[in-house]
Amino acid sequence: MSSPPPILNIVLFLPFLVAVVILCMRRLLKGASVILSVASSITCFICSLMLLGTVERVYPMMDFIHIDGVFDAGILAIVDKQSAGMLFIVTFIGMLVHLFSLGYMKDDEAQPRYFGALSLFMFSMTGIVLAANLFMMFIFWELVGLSSFLLIGHWFHKSSAAEAANKAFLTNRIGDFGFMIGILMLFGVSGSVSFEDLKSSLESGNLHAIAAAHPTFMTIAALGLFMGAVGKSAQMPLHVWLPDAMEGPTPVSALIHAATMVAAGVYMLVRVSFIIAASPLACDIVAGVGGVTALMAALMATQQNDIKRVLAYSTLSQLGYMVMAVGLVAMNPTHAGNADSIGHPGMFHLYTHAFFKALLFLGSGAVIYACHHEQDIWKMGGLRKYMPVTFWTFAIGTAALMGVPGLSGFVSKEGILDVAYGECKWLFTIGVVTAGLTAFYMTRLVVVAFLGKARSEGAKHASEVPLIMLVPLAALAIMSIISAVPSVANGLNALKPVVEHGHEGHTVMIFSLIALVVGAGGGFLLYRNRDSDPVSIKLFANKFYIDEFYAGLIKYGQDRVAWVVNALERIFADGLVARLPAAIVSKMGSQLRVLQCGRLQAYTFLLGAGVLFVIYILVFVLPAPGH
C-alpha cells in the first residue's frame, strides 16, 4: 500500500481543519470564518475533479484501531468510480450551497457557527463517500448525523427548530442501532469490516458458509444494514424526521436533506448490495420499503402547502425510488454481479436527483428569501414576473424531477422503471403511479407559487435575489439538463444503467410519458388561477397520521413503561439501595452518640468494662488453647 496522494488528504481533512478552526475561534474570526469555509469548499471541489480520473485503489489514510489478528479498522479511502463520482456530487453541490449561503445567510448573526457546521458536514460526508470499511462508514455516518443536527437546529431559539433537530437525531439513532447490529453480525462471522474482505468472504469464506447454512442470518444482517439506510435516507417507517428537518436554513435543506446526506443511505446500500443480494428476502423487503415510501410520500406531497415541505416529501419519494432500485437490482443475480457502481440505476438516479433537487431547494430558498421568509405557497403567486431567473431555473428543476424527456430526471427514472418492469410488475405500477403523482404535485407547486397573481403583500414586493444566489441556481439548472448526457455522465463517473430490454423499453417509456402527461395536465388544469386549494384530502395533508400514531405510541406505550420503571426505581434503587441503609446508619448513629458523653471517667469505665469483657470471653467462653 502506498501513501495517499495529497489531494485525497486535502479533500478529507481540509474541511475538518476548517470546521475545527471556525468552531473553536468563531468569535475571533467573525467574517473570516465565512471566507475560510467557502474557500475550503471550492478547494475540495477542485480536488474532487482531479480525483475523477485517478486509478482505482484503496489508500490508507491513517491508523485508527488496530489489534493484531483481531480487529483492524483504519481510516482507508477507497477511490473507485462510485466514490469519485459521489465525491464530485457532494463537493459540487456543497460548493454551490456555500456560495448560495453567502447571500441567504447574510443577515444571520450566527453566520460563523453556520459555516463551521457546514464544513463539518462536508468532512463527514466525504468520509462516508471514501469509507473503505463499514467501521469507518459508521463513524462518519454518526458525524453527518451530528452535523445535520447542528444545522437543523441552527435557529435553536425557535422551539420548532430545536424539536426538529432532536427528532432527526433520535429517529436516526433507531436506524443506526440496526446498522450497528448488521455490522457486528458481519464482523462476527467474517472477522473483517472492509468491503473487499466481506466480498471475498461471501464468495469463498466464512460468510459464504453461513449464507448457505443459515439464510436467516444473512437476511437479518442485510436488513440491519438496511435499517441504517432507512434512518438516514428517511424511508418508511422512519421517514418522519425529514419533513421536520425543513426547519433548518434552506441551503442546508438543499445540501443535506435533499442532495447528499439522505442519499448516503442509498450510497451505502449500493456499496453493500452484494450482501443484500445474498438474501432474496432482504431484496424483496428493500425494494418493497422503497416502493411504499415512494408512493406514500408522493401522496403526502400532493396536499402540503409549505413550499419546502412539498419538496421534502418529493425527496422522500425519490429516495424511495432509489432504494427500490437497489432492492430490484439485487434481486437479479445477473445484475447483482456487476452492481457495484457502474450503471446502477439507483446510483444514477441519486446522481441526477442531487442536481435537480438541490436546484429546487435553492430555488425555494430564493423564493423564501424574496418573500421575506414566507413559506406558504398560497401566499405567493405571480412570482414569475418578479423573479424571472429563479422561475426559469425552478421550472427546469421541476421538469427534470417530473421526468420530461430530454432532461436528466427522465433518463434516470427510466432506468429504475426499466428494472422494475423486468423484476416486479407491482413495483413497476407503483413507480408509474408515483411518477404521475410527482408530475401532479410539482405542477401544482409551480402553478400556485409562480403563476397567477400575487396573493400577499410579501409576494407583490418580491424582487430577484442577488447574483451570488443566482449563480448556483444557474449552475445546477445546467447540470439538471445535461447531467444525463452520456459524455457528461461518463466524465463524472456516473454511467447510465444498461437497458437490457430492447422492445420493452418502449413500453416503459410509453407508461412513464402517459403518467407525466396525466399528472402534469391534471395539476395544471386543477390549480390554474386558484386562490385556495380546491381539493382537500385530510389523510394526505396529515401525512397518513403517522406522526400522530408515533406520538400516541409514545404516550400510551413508552410513558406507561416509563411509569413502571420509575416506580421500580423509586422502590428498589431509591428505597432499598439508597434510603434504607442511610436510615439505618443514621438511626444507629443517633443511638450510639449517647456514649460519646465527653467525660473522661466514663470512657475509662467503658475501657475497663471492655477489658473485663474480653478477659471473660477468653477465659470462660473460648476453649482453652491446646485442647
Binding site: G598, R599, L600, Q601
Partner: protein, 105 residues
C-alpha cells in the same frame, strides 16, 4: 510458703484499687496516683513471674530488667503528667475532672 498465687492476688487487688480510683475519684491528682498504682501492680506481676519462672534453677532476670525500664519510664511520665496537671490548674484553677469538658461535642 508464699506462692505465685499470693503475689498475683496482691497485684490484682492493687490493680483493681487503682482502676476503681481512676473511675470513681474526681480529683485529677488522685486519679494520677491511682494510675501509678495500676502501673505498680503490673510491675509486681512481672517480678513475681520472673521469680517463679526458673531457667537453669535461677530466676528469669530478663523480666526484672524490664521492670527497671518500666520504673524509669514511669518516672519520666510522672514528670510530664505533673507538668500537664500544673498547666491545667493554672488555666482552670481547678483539679476536678468534671470541669474539664472543653472537648465535649
Amino acid at each position: 510458703m508464699v506462692t505465685l498465687g499470693h503475689y498475683l492476688v496482691v497485684s490484682g487487688a492493687l490493680f483493681a484499687l487503682g482502676l476503681a480510683g481512676v473511675i470513681a475519684r474526681r480529683n485529677i491528682l488522685i486519679i494520677y496516683m491511682c494510675l501509678e498504682m495500676m502501673l505498680s501492680a503490673a510491675n509486681l506481676t512481672l517480678v513475681a513471674f520472673s521469680r517463679f519462672h526458673l531457667v537453669d534453677h535461677l530466676p528469669d532476670y530478663g523480666a526484672q530488667a524490664l521492670v527497671f525500664f518500666t520504673i524509669t519510664v514511669a518516672a519520666a511520665e510522672v514528670a510530664v503528667g505533673l507538668a500537664i496537671i500544673v498547666a491545667l490548674f493554672r488555666s482552670r484553677q481547678s483539679v476536678d475532672v468534671d470541669s474539664i469538658t472543653k472537648l465535649q461535642g
